[in-house]
């Protein structure tokens, strides 16, 4: 007897699951707001961001020169700095106050100051110093100015050493000028570019944030539409927790797996971001990430009362979440407390895992920690979603029973009269 009942319950559950799944898909496609968050935004936003950062690096940062030395040597130095791709010398000023005025008027971001005794010191075998004043409104300006000047001064130094070494052959001069060579290898972001570093993180974050917005909006809308302002409708198909959670989750997953593939595989190709990871690994990784995000968003959505409130609550979180993920501010420098807080969000593991898989060509083995963490999150947020929905079903049921009772009472009093 019990066996048949159980089997019937299962088949009924599966039937309801697909009923709910179909309903949710319809909601996504018919509701403009939800469609915007769940489809349009994930398609357009990555393109917009990639467009903003498309140039990767800052070139030709404007700078002014105060050349007190005014000798062939100092002019050669300035020429070499100007020839670097990083710096563009826009003016020569007679003194510092003049140069400062250009900075104040936002004409330039740095002053290269060459002292009067520059040439004298060089020719008498003493050290000399070039001072570089940098406007700190943007660190990339500073970086460009320092890099260009350092590179030119090192070359200059090497030339001087070669001349001083009094060697007989060029090769010997070269060796005594720099007895040890060194080379720098920039891994995984050869242009040292801004887009290559930031966009992959933004792409992953967008998936989580649009899910939060979309599912939140769906929940808020459901509450506004339903009698008693409950999340769960009065409908016999919405009778079990598992069928609701699975039905809705499946609908989101199906829409998002396609979008996720577009976001993590196609967008980097369009903008030629470094991507050396295997596509298979990316897909294997994105599955638990999506699942974790969906259940996380479903849990959070229970707090949303209105159609519009998810925007007010979730939009601003993108900024802290990007920083806490350890991409821009290095993870090793994130304080202990915030590190643990960051474990709450799927985006932390998603971003860290994806960047290493995609940009750095790691295998799943190297991102095992993130991969496992995402599956654990999937489990935890699935459970929490079930609890939340169970609770919501009970509330909805209570409202129905109350309504039924009061209706009955009304009828009874009507009869008495």
């Amino acid at each position: 007897m019990k066996g048949i009942g159980f089997r019937k319950k299962i088949s009924e559950g599966i039937f309801d699951l697909f009923y709910i799944w179909k309903g949710e898909l319809k909601t996504i496609l018919k509701d403009q707001a939800i469609l915007t968050f769940l489809v349009v935004l994930p398609i357009m936003y990555p393109l917009l961001y990639a467009f903003i950062y498309t140039n990767e690096v800052v070139r030709e940062v404007p700078a002014v020169v105060v050349d007190k030395s005014n000798t062939p040597n100092s002019r050669k130095y300035i020429q070499l700095v100007n020839a670097t791709p990083d710096v563009n010398i826009i003016a020569h000023c007679t003194d510092i106050p003049h140069a400062q005025k250009v900075l104040k008027e936002r004409g330039a971001y740095g002053i290269i100051y060459i002292p009067e005794d520059f040439n004298k010191n060089l020719s008498t075998g003493k050290t000399t110093q070039i001072t570089l004043f940098c406007d700190m409104s943007g660190l990339l300006y500073y970086k460009a100015l320092v890099m260009a000047n350092t590179a030119v001064s090192l070359d200059f130094n090497k030339d001087i050493r070669m001349k001083l070494s009094k060697s007989t052959t060029n090769r010997q001069a070269e060796i005594s000028a720099s007895p040890i060579k060194y080379e720098d290898v920039k891994l995984y972001n050869p242009t040292n570019g801004f887009a290559s570093f930031l966009i992959p993180a933004v792409l992953i974050l967008i998936i989580q944030q649009t899910l939060l917005l979309g599912i939140g909006t769906a929940a808020g809308t459901a509450r506004e539409k339903h009698r008693f302002k409950d999340l769960i409708p009065v409908n016999k198909h919405y009778d079990g927790t598992l069928r609701i959670v699975f039905g809705k989750g499946l609908a989101y997953f199906m829409v998002y797996i396609l979008l996720a593939l577009y976001v993590v595989c196609v967008v980097p190709k369009i903008f030629t971001l470094p991507q050396i990871g295997a596509a298979g690994n990316l897909i294997l990784f994105i599955v638990p990430y999506l699942a974790a995000c969906i259940f996380f968003a479903m849990t959070c959505s229970a707090a949303i009362r209105n159609r519009e409130t998810s925007m007010l609550i979730f939009v601003f979180t993108s900024i802290p979440l990007l920083f806490i993920s350890g991409i821009s501010w290095p993870g090793a420098a994130v304080p202990e407390f915030w590190k643990y807080v960051s474990y709450i969000f799927p985006s932390t593991f998603g971003i860290n895992g994806y960047v290493r898989l995609s940009s750095m060509g790691a295998s799943l083995n190297e991102v095992a920690f993130e991969y496992k963490a995402l599956w654990i999150q999937t489990g935890v947020y699935f459970t929490s979603t079930c609890f939340v929905y169970r609770h919501q079903i009970l509330i909805a049921r209570k409202h129905i029973i109350q309504e039924y009772k009061s209706a009955k009472q009304r009828r009874a009093t009507d009869k008495e009269l």
Binding site: V58, F133, V146, R161, N192, R307, E308, L312, I324, W338
Partner: protein
């Protein structure tokens, strides 16, 4: 119908305070979220500059020279050699596991090659997928490479009989003394929080302004709101915005006092010009929000538009990635974002201490944002009277 409404500006203000008080959402968006972010960003980057970034070393030389080199590198504030690897591949794998941000490679027979003038090559690998960490390491490792080369020259020249002073001049005839103006510590929190925090506040102002107007329509209370405002759209709007503005000013003022007072971030203009700038940012954001709602009086649409505006501000204001490196069309578009102007005012005043005169165009731009609602007042009144809320 039975209730007699009080009308006028005062009554509208009282009405708005009641509305703000009645929904926890306002408390969250207007006070909790901005203050949380203030606390978050300033504690996240409390160190200013990341220190002790974990790196590795691949030492195939195993000589006293190579060990000495690594010890010197480890002494740098910003790096911490946490592990030795036997090969480049091993080190790369550790990088992929996120254990290290870079590593130093010393080839076989390094010391003996250097001594016999065969010019060996040191290599350093940085992970630039993490741009900040990669750049910092690059700087340290480059200095280290230069020092290694210099010390080898030093021993040769000393052997040739030059004095120490002469040797110094040979190794580094020209040195660069870089002076980062007004942020000599290269403090990232100074650099980022100063714009991110006002940016988050501005985002919240944009959204709440739109939401508070749009929800009147949604709750069918817009006519009653207008009646309370003596049927003048001007009074009604003013009455609605004054209570919000007071709260925003308090929160914005707190952020400034916290940054420039408590955390002593550079504020070379004194704090008063920054109060003025913050006030202008808040009012400009409110102006922009009303304008957008006036143009598209559908709550959901206007909210989407302002949140897009607010979020894009962070990229397009150019405080992390400079405007000059963006597409020319974007460079023009930056003027449409209040945060861009606030950022330039901040750089001009608090960071560099230049006179306000140099930033007058930015103040003028913010003023234009404040005046934008005038263009849509009439339309807005019509909307409030005749329009129905659209989902």
């Amino acid at each position: 119908m039975t209730k007699n409404y009080q009308i006028g500006l005062g009554a509208t203000i009282r009405r708005e305070f009641k509305r703000l008080y009645s929904r926890p959402l306002y408390l969250f968006c207007m006070i909790i979220a901005p203050l949380f972010c203030t606390f978050f960003f300033t504690t996240l980057m409390a160190d200013g500059l990341p220190s002790k970034l974990p790196i590795g070393a691949v030492d195939l030389d195993h000589s006293s020279t190579s060990r000495n080199l690594l010890r010197n590198l480890d002494a740098f504030q910003q790096v911490d050699i946490i592990q030795q690897f036997n090969s480049v591949q091993e080190a790369k794998n550790a990088m992929q596991r996120n254990e290290i941000y870079g590593f130093f490679y010393i080839p076989e027979d390094f010391a003996s090659n250097a001594q016999s003038q065969r010019q060996p090559t040191l290599s350093f690998y940085t992970n630039d997928a993490f741009l900040i960490a990669g750049s910092l390491l690059f700087k340290n490792m480059k200095t280290m490479g230069e020092m290694a080369s210099g010390s080898a020259t030093l021993s040769v020249l000393l052997a040739k009989g030059l004095t120490k002073e002469q040797v110094q001049a040979v190794i580094m005839p020209i040195s660069i003394d870089s002076r980062p103006l007004n942020n000599p510590w290269l403090n990232y929190s100074v650099y980022l929080s100063n714009t991110i925090l006002p940016g988050i506040l501005s985002l919240m102002v944009l959204m709440i302004t739109v939401f508070s107007i749009g929800s009147e329509l949604k709750e069918n209370s817009s006519r009653q709101w207008l009646r309370t405002g003596n049927k003048s759209i001007f009074t009604a709007l003013l009455g609605k915005l004054i209570p919000q503005t007071v709260i925003w000013l308090l929160v914005g003022g707190f952020i400034l006092v916290y940054m420039y007072g408590y955390l002593s971030y550079p504020c070379n203009s004194g704090i008063l010009p920054m109060f003025l700038a913050m006030t202008c940012l808040i009012l400009a954001s409110q102006g922009l929000a009303i304008f957008i709602y006036g143009v598209a009086p559908i709550l959901r649409l206007a909210l989407s538009a302002v949140s897009l505006w607010g979020v894009l501000s962070f990229s397009i204001s150019g405080f992390s990635f400079p405007i000059m490196a963006m597409d020319p069309t974007l460079q023009v578009a930056t003027d449409l974002f209040p945060l861009r102007h606030y950022f330039l005012i901040y750089v001009n005043s608090a960071l560099n201490g230049y006179s306000i005169g140099y930033a007058w165009t930015n103040y003028a731009a913010l003023l234009i944002f404040m005046l934008l609602p005038l263009l849509v007042l009439r339309r807005l009144k019509k909307v409030l009277i005749y329009f129905k809320h659209i989902d």
